[in-house]
Amino acid sequence: MTRVGVVAWNTFREAVRDRVLYNLVFFALLMIAAAILVGQISIEIEQTVIVTLGLSAISVIGLLMAVFIGVGLVSKEMDKRTLYALLSKPVRRWEFLLGKFGGLLLTLTVNTAAMAAGLFAALWYVKHPLDRGDSAVLVAVYFILLKLALVVALALLFSCYTSPLLAILFTAGLYVAGLFVNEMRDLQSATMAPGMKAFLRWLSYLLPNFRNFDVMASAAHGRAIPGMLLAQNTAYAALYCAIVLAAAATIFSRRNLK
């Protein structure tokens, strides 16, 4: 196994031994079960409710994990100084960073898959044969995962040079800002200076566009998602993550530890 893989596997192991994660996943599954009940209230939208509630639960819980654990990936090791012994081994700082990223991503993938399985079970329960339209739900889950990868990369970046609290705030802030990137791009305002508009436009390309991954409406109403979007989003996420991680590696490589 490569050194990156070694660090990743250990990060995954750490997550697996953490009780909190099980509780979160259990909570998500509970929500999904509840969705079945809620759906009973209004039969027409039973499916819609299960999908929206399920995807929302998976998304929110995934985000919580990505932000809080993501920020702690590096800062915890720096605070507790577990990093000292590790960096004395022949492992480069960027390998460590990448390994941490990979480990958390693996954890998130496993958790998301578990929750998605629950979601599909609920969906199957209310409408026995699943049809083509339900593939949209799978794509929606995949997009959630891509989104989480971006969030983890950002959390990692911020935690490399600010305090954990600030890192959480910045990451959360970027998540919210990233949802309004399209509005920022085509701002219709008579009062705003053209310079400001141009700046916002430029900013809108810089910020991570989380709206790209928002297909909950399609999934809720069983509309298939074009394969092109799948490919594009995957490429976007990969590229953006690579850039963010490269920046994080650069910063971290120069950082003086306590």
């Binding site: 209230i41 209004s42 027409e44 939208i45 929206t52 919210v176 991954f213 909950m216």
Partner: protein, 274 residues
Amino acid sequence: MQQGIDAQIGGLHQEQDELVLRSAPMLRMMSLEYAPLLADLYWTRTVQYYGSKNTRPEHQLDLLWPLLDITTTLDPNLIPAYSFGSTFLAEPAPRGAGMPEQAIKFLNRGIRANPDYWRFYEDMGFIYYFDMRNYEKASNAFLEGSKNPAALPWMKVLAARVSEKGESRETSVFLWNEIYNSSTDAQLKQNALTHLRLLRAQEDCERLDVLAEEFGKRRGRRPTSVLDLVNAGLIPGEAVDPLGFVYVFDADGFAQINPTSPLAKDQTLYQRPM
């Protein structure tokens, strides 16, 4: 004491309602990427709001439109909202909000967001026909909807018939039947059913009136009850309304729904303003 508390809390919730239903675009913004979920929640709330109208003074439905507005802003593809919403927006008080123009606008919004769903044209035609009595527009709506390859063939037929004859019981019965059969929402179904029963009763009364006329010619007076007609051999047995209550004749000798029948109450509620 509990009732006192309930009254107080009811008051608070009213206020809450006002506060929360600020603006649909703002709610949409605040919902980040969870708008469809919020839409589902608001939809559930809308249904409950309508269902609890009897608990409010004068069956007030002021918040129906804002709730529908929010629901469909959050998720423009929530199709049940448009059908349900347009029906009860258009129906006159006390069973609806009495805003047929708003209902039409609402349906147009639905069509823009869901161009493939032809039944919105059906709903639109229905509102023009029934609540607004604009038969030309009704016919146009049915015609437009019939252009959708998935539309049922009667849309075209109806377009022609309404354009020709305007309002007719046959058309009304047909439309309400269609709604009853195609709808999955309990409240919509119940509404349609009641309309159908009233139409049936109306038809029955008209036929009874014809028979009463005949009776009058024979006996020199109009009948006082259905038994008169039975005895005169004009009808085989007691004529009952769809709920099983015998029809009665009023002082002028015209057939009416039995005041003890629940349909009588419905009739007053479902009366259309002239």
